[in-house]
Each structure stands twice: as structure tokens, then as C-alpha cells.
Amino acid sequence: MSAGAMHPIRAQALADRVALEARHPDIFRPSPWARARALLVVGGLAALLVYGLWVLEFSPLKMIVGLGRLGEFMVHMIPPSTGTWAKFWIYLHALAETVAIAFLGVFTAAAIALPLGFLAAKNVVPNAVIHFLSRRMLDTVRGVDELIWALIWVSVVGLGPFAGVLALVCANVGAFGKLFSEAIEAADRKAVEGVASTGGAKLHAVRFGLLPQVLPVMAAQVLYYFESNTRSATIIGIVGAGGIGLHLAEQIRVLEYQHVSALILMILVTVALIDMVSTRLRFALIGDRGAR
């Protein structure tokens, strides 16, 4: 076999080409429908996008004018400064409160959502009624945004971080319940079968067959939510649920842009730190998956 000549595989296929096409007409002449359908979907989505832009009065001109004003803001924001050190310590304390709200909100929600996730997973509880009810319940909880939850809890338990924690717990339980149950449903059945085959009970199968598989996935989701909730906790602070958001809203209102930029920087640094730590933790968890 020399390098230049036609490869025998191709030579053989080409010699047989006419007969091949006759034997497999659907592959050589696929129905034009498949491609037309893909084009229709893409075209439909594009039309919807243009229609949306038109209805919502998207205007490039307004954006360009607005960009100038954004530049003005930026100039006022430099250099970031909290004025006095006393103010800085107050902000730092509020930031710690925000992180604490996020931490409590996420981990309490994860603890509540863990049993719910198993309950809502089809491969754990095959009962259609329980499955339906738990799914719809999680949908309902998730359907209400954390900002709305914050407004509700502020009016129930009053201003402060306690309302913030409750708001995040409610919002996260809905999200975690769904994510956990989906992770459980995607788990491999083989390990469960192995545990069941030894005479283990259903609970054993869940504890040893499923949990070790899904725990790293769940942990990764919880860690991501901790980071994302630190940002959310800032927002719910604005409606009075404690933390640094209150200060941020206040400084924007009194046009202290240098304080605003300092606060934003502090939040950015905190989120980056959390992200770094959670990345480490996640890899540590994935790393010893086999050992568990």
C-alpha cells in the first residue's frame, strides 16, 4: 500500500457506490423536512427576537446618549473611597452580615431540600401522586422570587437580617429541591442494584447506592449558590432585609458615588474570594469521590 494511491477502503466504496445508494435511499436522499424544520425553528426565533425588540422600544440612540451619562457616573465614582475608616468598618460589618445571610440561607435550604429532593425523584419514590405533589410544591416555592420573599418576610418578622435569611431559605429550597431531584434521577442504577442484591433495604440503597454518587454534584451546586446568594443578599438588603445592600441603596440615593464604587469593589472582592474557596472545595470533593 503506497501513500499516494487511493486507499482501498474508498476505492471499494466508490466501486459499489450506485448499489449503495440504491440500498440506502433514506440516507442519501433524506426527506427535505428535517432541514426545513430546523430552518423554520431558527427563523421563528429570530422573528420573535426582532418583534420583542420592537415592542419593548429598543432604541440604539437612547443607548448611545445613555452611555455618555454612564461615563459621567464613572468619573464621579473615581477614586473609590469610604471617606473615613469608621465608615469602612461599618461597611465591612454589613458585608460580613451579608455573607452570613447567604451562608445561613444556602445551607439551611440545602438541609431542608435534601430529603425533598429524594422525595421528588422518580427513581426513589415511584409513587405518581407523591411525585406530582412534591414537584408542584417545589415549583410554587420557586415561582416566587427571593426579592418578593424578602418583602414578605420583612413585613412578617420585621426589618433585619433574620428576614433576609428566611427569604433566601424559601427561594433556595425550591431551586435545590429541583436540582437535587434531577441529579438523583440522572444517577446510575447499577450501584443501587448492587446494594439491593445483597438484601439491603430501600433506605440502604439510597444511602449507599445513590448518595455517594450525587453528593459531589449537590455540593457543587450548593457552593455555586453560596456565591450567587452573596450577590442576591446584597439586593434583598435594599428592601431592608439586612446586610450591605441597605448601605448601597442609601449611598446611591444621596449621590455619594465614591462610596458606591468602594462598596461595589468590596462586594466584588468577597464574591471572588468565595469563588476561589469553593473551587478548591469542589475539586477536593470530586477528587476523593472514589474513596468515599
Binding site: M1, A3, H7, P8, I9, R10, Q12, A13, L14, D16, R17, L20, E21, R23, H24, D26, I27, F28
Partner: protein, 270 residues
Amino acid sequence: MLTIDGISRRFGAKTAVSDVSLEIAGGSFVGIIGRSGAGKSTLLRMINRLQEPSSGRILFEGRDVTALSGAGLRDWRQSCAMIFQQFNLIGRLDVLTNVLMGRLNHVGQARALLKMWTDEDKAVALSALEQFDIAQLAAQRAESLSGGQQQRVAIARALVQEPRLILADEPIASLDPRNTKVVMDALQRINRHFGITVICNLHSLDLAKAYCDRLVGMAQGRVVFDGAPEALTDAAARELYGIEAGDVIDSHTPLPAPAAAYAEALLASA
């Protein structure tokens, strides 16, 4: 002619392949035998450059393939097709698309990404599938196929690459005796019919003796035997497989590896 010139691979403190040199003539069917962990897979994967050697060179017809990168490396990989123990198909895609993966280096990038295969490519893929009697499965998802069928799809993918060389890494270790025979026969046919060189890692000594025209025995990363299957003496096999070698040679007692069961059943059914 494939020349492996003093190649080594270390993983941390462990040496997987240690100073291996081999010359493999075009058109031969070479079996690489030895216990698990002897370095067979690492050696094969280094030829395809899925693993980089720590030192040494691999030459194909005088060209140093260990120095290749970019398009040159892709061309080399296309000409030395890999077949894996676990098939390494894309389970969620249909069989035809899986086989057409073997055409990627022949087709333009945009065309391939949009799955706009030419009729010629489809003809080559179907012709390969027909040779292994699985053309009727072309539209099915690869993951819905049995192990033996999946491995035949993988061989078809290898074939449409238009390779000069096929590297089969334990191709039958996950298959039952009947499919073992089907897959080994397919490799043999490719070798004899198209003159493509086959290098095949095998656990089973009996299979290796039945199909290969040259055996390379590896132990602890080194070549400890190299010659015709008939030349593999008891002593050489003992060095290869350790103290149980007496059992290995005697075909009435089983090998320590599950491959033995396959080989036994294969002999019984043949």
C-alpha cells in the same frame, strides 16, 4: 514501517513504559501480550499520541511522529486509527454519524460541524458498515446497540479514516466469546484484505497465538519477548505472566484473567 526508538513513559515515580524499541513491518498483524499494567495500553496510546512519551521517538516511514503538532498531528492520528476497549463511541449520536467521525480529517471544518456530509463520505461509511453486517443499524443511537455491535461500529469508524495502521487496545476485553470471534475476524480481514497493519493489545495468549503473525510480550514496561507465536516457549511465557505461567500454557486450565474464559469458550465453540 513503524519504528519505535527507545521510548519511555513515566507517571510520577512510576515507569509505565521503559525504553521500548520495536520495528513493525507494513502489513503485519502484531499482538502485544502481557499482564494488566505491563504498559501495553500506554505504548499503543503513545503511538497515536493520545499520551506523550517522556523520552524516545516514534518514526513512521522515516518521519518522526513524536515531533508533530497541529495539522501534521491530526494527519498522523487519522492514519493510525485507534480501537478502544470501551468502544469510545458517542452514545447519543446515531451510528452513521459515529462512523463519519472517521472522515473528520478529510472534510472541511464548516461542512463537518454542520453535518453536511458528501454522498461520497456517506458511501464510504455505509460500505464499511455493510462489511460488518450492521448497515441496517445506521440510523440508531449508538448507545442502544449491544457491545459487539458497538465495537463493530468503532472498527467501521477506524476503517473510514483510511488508516495505514490500526491500533486496537484490548478490543475484545468487554465482549462475549461469540463477539470476540466476530471482532477478531474483522481485524484479521482488514489486515489481509486491505493490507493495513494491525497492532493489537491482548490479554489472552490463545487468541494472540491464533490471530497474530508476531507477538511482543511486555512485563513491567519492558519488551521481554519478540518473535513468532510458535517461538513463545514456556519459559518466556513464565516471565510474561509470572509464576502461574504453567497454567497459562496449558490450555486445559484457565488463565487468571477473565480473558481465559472467553478464549476457552471460543475454542469450544469454534
